[in-house]
């Protein structure tokens, strides 16, 4: 075997493992989405794109799609805006840095489902601890029914989404920042570059690949994120906080329409692929320039 084959051997185990969990299920899902299927996944007649057609004719599905895009954009961008300054601070040397790092990391230590359940509990209108805290502090005098309507529930869900995405993002950035050699800053400082210039000229370019990782992966994870919305409102009231994943879950397991659910998941898959290809293209072009 030639030297040229070395990289292929290096990537082989990871390729095999990933392929094993993705390719077979993908094949299954595609075939589910093209057949009339009973509620236990038994294929009946081949019906082509019928599931897709009925989905696009369904206003609840269309609404959930737009809401998903908004949800993803809001959480991902919000997370980036919050995480960059936090990572920069946590990368500096100051008293209590270790503690600060652990604190920022805490939301990650509890499973998403549990976090969402605790929030649901805290957001309860009459006996939730958020209202009780806000009342004690004199900020409000009548209870806010946070989860009763989409207009208050959805912003809270986005906030929770941001909160739980921050630890992951900050950790990536901290890893990335640790690759920036100290002497670069020293050199820049001796040449009279200010803090802002140092950030713009040294930190940001070196951090860029890590921002890309965080952006792309957060987009994928948030787009597919199920527990926050499910545990707080189950997409309700009257589907007004449904995103595609919660819609998918209801379609698959409540209504038992597995074929339609498979179609939803492939549409979601397609949206993500298109997005990522576009983004990776853009990011790469910039890198080359």
């Amino acid at each position: 075997m030639q030297r040229a084959s070395v990289p292929y051997f290096l990537i082989l185990p990871s390729f095999l493992l990933t392929a094993a969990i993705i390719l077979w299920p993908l094949k299954e899902i595609v075939s589910l989405s093209l057949h009339d299927v009973n509620r236990f996944g038994m294929l009946k007649d081949f019906i082509g794109l019928e599931h897709y057609r009925s989905l696009f004719a369904n206003p609840d599905f269309i609404a959930a799609t737009w809401r998903t895009l908004f949800w993803t954009a809001a959480v991902v961008i919000g997370t980036l805006i919050v995480s960059v300054p936090i990572a920069l601070i946590l990368n500096e040397d100051f008293y209590g840095r270790g503690i600060a790092r652990i604190l920022i990391m805490l939301p990650w230590a509890i499973s998403l489902t549990m976090t969402a359940i605790v929030w649901r509990w805290a957001l309860n209108g009459e006996s939730g601890m958020l209202n009780s805290a806000l009342r004690d502090l004199g900020i409000i005098d009548t209870n806010i029914q946070w989860l009763a309507e989409a207009s208050t529930a959805f912003p809270m869900q986005i906030l929770i989404g941001i909160l739980v995405s921050v630890p992951f993002t900050v950790t990536i950035f901290l890893g990335g920042l640790s690759s920036v050699p100290e002497d670069l800053y020293e050199a820049a400082a001796t040449e009279g570059a200010g803090r802002w210039d140092q950030f713009r000229l040294i930190t940001l370019p070196l951090l860029k690949p890590f921002i890309n990782i965080a952006f792309v992966l957060n987009t994928i994870y948030v787009f597919n994120s199920f527990p926050i919305i499910w545990a707080t409102t189950q997409g309700g009231p009257a589907n007004s906080t449904d995103i595609l994943v919660t819609y998918l879950y209801k379609t698959a397991f409540r209504m038992g329409r597995l074929g339609e659910a498979a179609a939803v998941s492939l549409i979601m898959f397609a949206i993500l692929i298109v997005f990522t290809i576009l983004y990776v293209r853009l990011a790469m072009r910039e890198e080359k320039q």
Binding site: P7, I11, L17, P25, F94, M105, L174, S178, P209, S265
Partner: protein, 274 residues
């Protein structure tokens, strides 16, 4: 006031809003876990009486102890395996040019895109077909597979920041490629490995849907299944126990991070070799 002290105060001031929001659910959890069964439904911030016995009671009745062991095993093994598999792949991506390099990267990314909720149906058929249901080791392999994409990508980005001349210098001195990898290259990449380790560990620690689908018997249940089953659809929920359990479940992760975060330090890399 020293410069560092001033800086510290400023930073803490800046961090305080987010810290408050982060601590809020924790405070809710901590306080609720210490309330009595009759008080836990009331939104009081100062319990009339601290019920420390909730913790031992929860420990005894919820079967959380074996679940803790299972979760530690699954998370630890997945983390080790993921890093072991990801390092060679990331090394190949950052140090070799080869046909299909970009395709492989994109394939990894695509593997993350299918919603796990549907994926799990197909995955389960695969596992059931092979007769491997109710095995923690199957979970380890699935978790590893799911985490490879992030780890390879993260490690590769980091590896690319390590200057080639460091390795080349070592080769000149007669060290083999492998030796160089272990003595020069990987020690430089510790922060990235720490990030991937944390990521994998936590994902495995908190994963619920796949675990619930693949596992069947009490003896093999992981922590999220135990904690979640305390709340999911029971006619009544012992919130004080739930909160205590959630609290206990988060402790190992906090310890892990407390231990690992010190390796996330700037300049550790290059300075160490000079």
């Amino acid at each position: 006031m020293s410069k560092k002290l001033k800086r510290s105060l400023l930073f803490w001031l800046f961090l305080s809003p987010i810290v408050v929001v982060i601590l809020f659910p924790y405070a809710v959890m901590a306080i609720s876990s210490l309330k009595s069964a009759t008080e836990v439904l009331n939104p009081t911030w100062w319990p009339e009486e601290l019920h420390w016995q909730n913790f031992p009671e929860m420990w005894r009745t919820s079967g959380i102890a074996p679940a803790l062991v299972n979760s530690l095993y699954v998370s630890g093994m997945s983390t080790a395996l993921t890093i072991l598999v990801s390092i060679p792949a990331a090394y190949a991506l950052s140090r070799y040019q080869f046909a299909g390099r970009n395709a492989f990267r994109q394939f990894l990314l695509i593997s993350q895109m299918l919603s796990p909720i549907v994926l799990v149906i197909g995955l389960f058929r695969l596992v059931a077909g092979a007769g491997m249901i109710d095995s923690l080791n199957v979970l380890v392999i699935i978790y590893t597979a799911f985490n490879i994409a992030f780890c390879v990508w993260m490690l590769q980005s980091y590896f690319s920041t390590i200057p080639r001349d460091l390795e080349e210098a070592a080769w000149m001195e007669g060290a083999s490629r492998t030796r160089t990898l272990f003595t020069v290259f990987l020690p430089l990449a510790v922060p990235a490995m720490v990030v991937t380790a944390i990521f994998t560990f936590i994902n495995a620690w908190n994963e619920f849907v796949i675990a619930l689908t693949m596992l069947r018997t009490e003896g093999s249940y992981t922590l999220p299944i135990r904690v979640f089953s305390l709340v999911a659809g029971r006619y009544t929920v012992d919130w004080h126990y739930v909160m205590a359990a959630a609290f206990v479940a988060s402790v190992p992760v906090a310890i892990l991070f407390a231990w690992l975060q010190r390796y996330l330090v700037r300049g550790l890399s290059i300075g160490a070799v000079k």
